[in-house]
Amino acid sequence: MINLEHVSFRYPHSAPIVRDVGLSVNKGQVVAVMGPSGCGKTTLLRIVAGLLQPYEGRVQLFGQVIPYEQATKLRELRTKMGMLFQFGALFTDMSVFDNVAFPLRETTQLNERQINECVMQKLTAVGLADAAQKMPAEISGGMARRVALARAIAQNPQIMLFDEPFTGLDPIAMDTIASLIREQTDALNAASIVVSHDVQETFSISDYIYVMHQSGIVAHGTPSELTHHTDPFIRRFIHGREDTLVHGGHV
């Protein structure tokens, strides 16, 4: 479903932010891209979303190369994708219901009764059916993230992208979001990419993990493979252990 080959990206006149990255995600898989802040995770996700164009390499979605230069085709492709932004990106002048209904009203021919049914189904799936008429300013950060998730899955996407879904959430909300990501990926048989630096929650829902550091991928494997990884950086990132601190290049 998602396939990246030797992808590199940089802004004009600056150093590469993503360097020679390759990864693939199949149907029904949750793949995580992890790494410390500033390593290029979010940029990589934006490349997969077609929001940024790599200067090198190839990105394929559904077996076709992303048509960056053809806006209409790109938009068509995106109707089969859902993305959860770091802070939800809810439309502040619309109610929770209207936020979730937005992609359906804009991109489908469904009538209001069908939209109503679909929106309430998605809101129920994220446990927020009661908040349908509230405005984004009236709900908590965790609830906003769940509304954004409901909106991201409103079109039953086959590819789902999650940008730091756990940032700024309390442990209970984090757990809820993590479960929802796994459940929705399974329910829709979608291919999901989760970008995060939250080890515990991400490991609990991922099938495969890529670890990024300094713009490139430095390790990849299943959660259990990475847990037993011997590389000092990986061990430190995953376990946060003092004994793996790097001093002057020596562990």
Binding site: L51, R75, E76, R78, T79, A89, F91, E106, T107
Partner: protein, 265 residues
Amino acid sequence: MSWVLNKLADLGKTVIEKLLHLGYAMRMFWAMLLQFKVWFTRTRLVTRQIHFLGNYSLVIMVVSAAFIGAVLALQAYYALSKVGSEAATGVMVTLSLIRELSPVVVAILFAGRAGTSMTAEIGLMKSGEQLAAMEMMGVDPIEREYAPRFWAGGLVVPMLTMIFSLVGVYGGYLVAVRWLGVDAGVFWNMIHENVNVGHDIFRGSFVKSVVFGLAVSFIAVYEGAQARPTPEGVAKATTRTVVKSSLLVLALDFVLTALMFSPQN
């Protein structure tokens, strides 16, 4: 020698960047012109923008028009009375307003009142990733957010210009007739005799105000879309909207006046 080469390289870089921005702006302008269909396909959004941009700008326009009309009448009366032509106060106020002041002042006030809010709104949508979210849902922000504002601005500015002219003339009437004693019949009759609907109102006021409205709305939307997604970036973008819009309106005013009213035409 290397110092000179470095300076040349910097200059080249700046020129290329400016040209890229200009090219991007022209593409966006063209894309918004092509979205004329929003009048029919996004009627509710355009109407909402007309209400937002027009109604909320009305008070500042009416108050400014009344004072500008009154001041114009005072100055015109002062100058014309020296040559015994104070009866022409009304027509001087009216022609000054219709052909020059109304379109220009309305466009500049519109840039300050409505243009800044357009820029801030779009800039904040960008910094809140709402525009990116829209793209990800397969919705074109140009059609959904930019074009309704752009075309609404193109309608609202001419409407406000008409209101501005009417209120300005009435402000001039109050000063000239009620205060300075110009005969009311002469005041209105000279306006009636000397103001040409096609020449003065359509070309002088309407054409200019449509062009100014579209220009200001475009700059406001463009600056919002180009704003850096930070509070400081949005603040700078709103400032740029006012500065660029004001300068562009004055430049366009000269060009349009030269094209429409030069003696050769």
